[in-house]
Amino acid sequence: MTLAIGPGPSTPTPLRFPSPIGGIAGTSFKHEHLKAILADGPKRGFFEVHAENYMGAGGPPHRALDAIRRDHPLSLHGVCMSIGGPQPLDKAHLARFRGLVARYQPAMVSEHLAWSTHESSFFNDLLPLPYTEATLRHVCAHIDQMQEAIRRPILLENPSTYLAFTETTMSETDFIRSVAERTGCGLLLDINNVFVSATNHGFSALDYLADFPLSRIGEIHLAGHDEQADDDGEPLLIDSHDGPVADAVWKLYEIVIERCGPMPTLVEWDSRIPDWPVLQAEAAAAQAILDRRGTAARAEDRHAA
């Protein structure tokens, strides 16, 4: 691995895994798996962490992240920046985020098209926003501000939503495309979110993917969901991240990989965490799809040559 940037006072840790990392599968990093991961030793794959969990000054979280990052590329996934809200971003939070990026030099940095803070209250959920010219301006200004703060582009994740806003004037895919064009950010396509939202709003997941700017994708998320019922007793899917990836989501994933080629792919699992081998097996299933597509692409190249 070559060093992209030499060590120096402004770069406390060399960039060991320069992006893009290519078609490899990774998992959420959970501290209960640390021992098993370290016992496995360096393996193909990457780990994603929620940035906010590492914004303390010191202690075991940083020791664990240091250990993981030594042998694996890291994806830093912000969940609390509140990019989708109308109020200004929290400057202290931006500074903390910048510090983490500088310290850990992640291969990927991402955030959500959602909001979580209003006035002084933090709601600890990814809340939805209407898609209008006004919200588009806010979101673009916030992404500009974040990208300036951390001095690199982010990947913006499409949300899973349970309701819509009467004031919405544009489709989610049009909104996301405009954000990417105006800010230069990349996109994190969460295929489970697409499936959840498609079911909840009664649109076709395939149509959504056809409209989605696939060329801007820098990472894919896969996760499990749960099923409840809406006011009319019809299925309402909940983006719960507490179980295996659904068959329908795997199908959509194969379609996306077929179209856009191998991509870093994360299996998210955030609650009711299984033993490490179970999560590892989910990532291996994604890796098999990525590798199959990679082999097919190389075969096509040979035929073309």
């Binding site: 000054a57 010191g58 209250s121 933090f122 600890n124 926003l129 806010h138 009467t166 006011d231």
Partner: protein, 258 residues
């Protein structure tokens, strides 16, 4: 960019933690379908995830009260005092005082003190890393200069003074081993430290809390010992210094007149 006069967020947020309010008028299901249950998903996510956050910070309190009692108590706190920081490990600083006032917890007067130790435990866990003072450094100080010695507190070190046997109750309830009957009536002061990567909670001896607090405030060793003796005639200076150093309560020494 200034927010709109009444933003969607201002309309969406108030009912999230207030079950007496209806879902906001600005939301809808597909094709104009009702969105009440849909909005409830967000209410539930917010409330449950914040109760879960308190349960993760206060596991001993939850074990003592039982899950149902804890979650009911935490729900009141979450609705009245949602987090003001996106860092959830900073949440719940007002929870011990809330517990002390909570009507249904009045039969467990030690519960708030146990919560104070758990909150301090988490602060120690996330505190800045620092190498504790080596005992040899203190041993090298000439005896006639000891009274002027000033010690720098370790970033993780904290003291919690309790009116009840909070350290014993905390220790018995932080893991899953069976808890035998505890006499809660003895006041116990706690020293919380993290010299390496493990947080340690110790029971301070008589006068120990006054002594350690004085030192942490930057007062010289002689003055701190005098205050401790005032507070507790049984105060043992040698044992207390040794205990604090061994626990990793300090990082360095200096002299008050330096």
């Amino acid at each position: 960019m200034p927010p709109e006069p009444i933003s969607f967020a201002a309309a969406f947020a108030p009912a999230l933690l207030d079950p007496t309010r209806d879902a906001p008028q600005i939301v809808t299901g597909p094709n104009g379908k009702a969105a009440g249950k849909r909005y409830d998903v967000y209410r539930n996510n917010v409330t449950v995830s914040l109760i879960d956050a308190l349960a993760a910070i206060y596991p001993a309190v939850q074990r003592i009260t039982g899950t149902d009692f804890f979650r009911a108590m935490a729900r009141f706190h979450v609705r009245g005092s949602p987090p003001t920081s996106p860092l959830l490990f900073e949440y719940g600083r007002g929870f011990p005082d809330f517990i002390a006032r909570y009507e249904h917890a009045q039969t467990m007067p030690w519960l708030a003190d146990v919560a104070r130790i758990e909150r301090a435990w988490l602060d120690a866990y996330h505190a800045r890393d620092a190498t504790p003072l080596a005992p040899a450094q203190l041993a090298a100080v000439a005896p006639e200069r000891l009274a002027d010695l000033v010690l720098t507190p370790h970033p993780a070190a904290q003291i919690v003074c309790a009116e009840f046997s909070a350290v014993t109750i905390f220790a018995a309830n932080r893991d899953s081993a069976p808890v035998s009957r505890i006499d809660a009536s003895t006041p116990e002061d706690a020293l919380i430290t993290r010299p390496g990567f493990d947080v340690i909670v110790r029971h301070l001896p008589p006068g120990g809390a006054v002594f350690a607090t004085s030192l942490a405030e930057g007062r010289p060793l002689g003055e701190a010992a005098a205050s401790a003796l005032d507070a507790s005639p049984d105060f043992d200076i040698a044992a207390n210094i040794a205990g604090l150093i061994e626990a990793g309560a300090f990082t360095s020494i200096a002299f008050g007149d330096a």
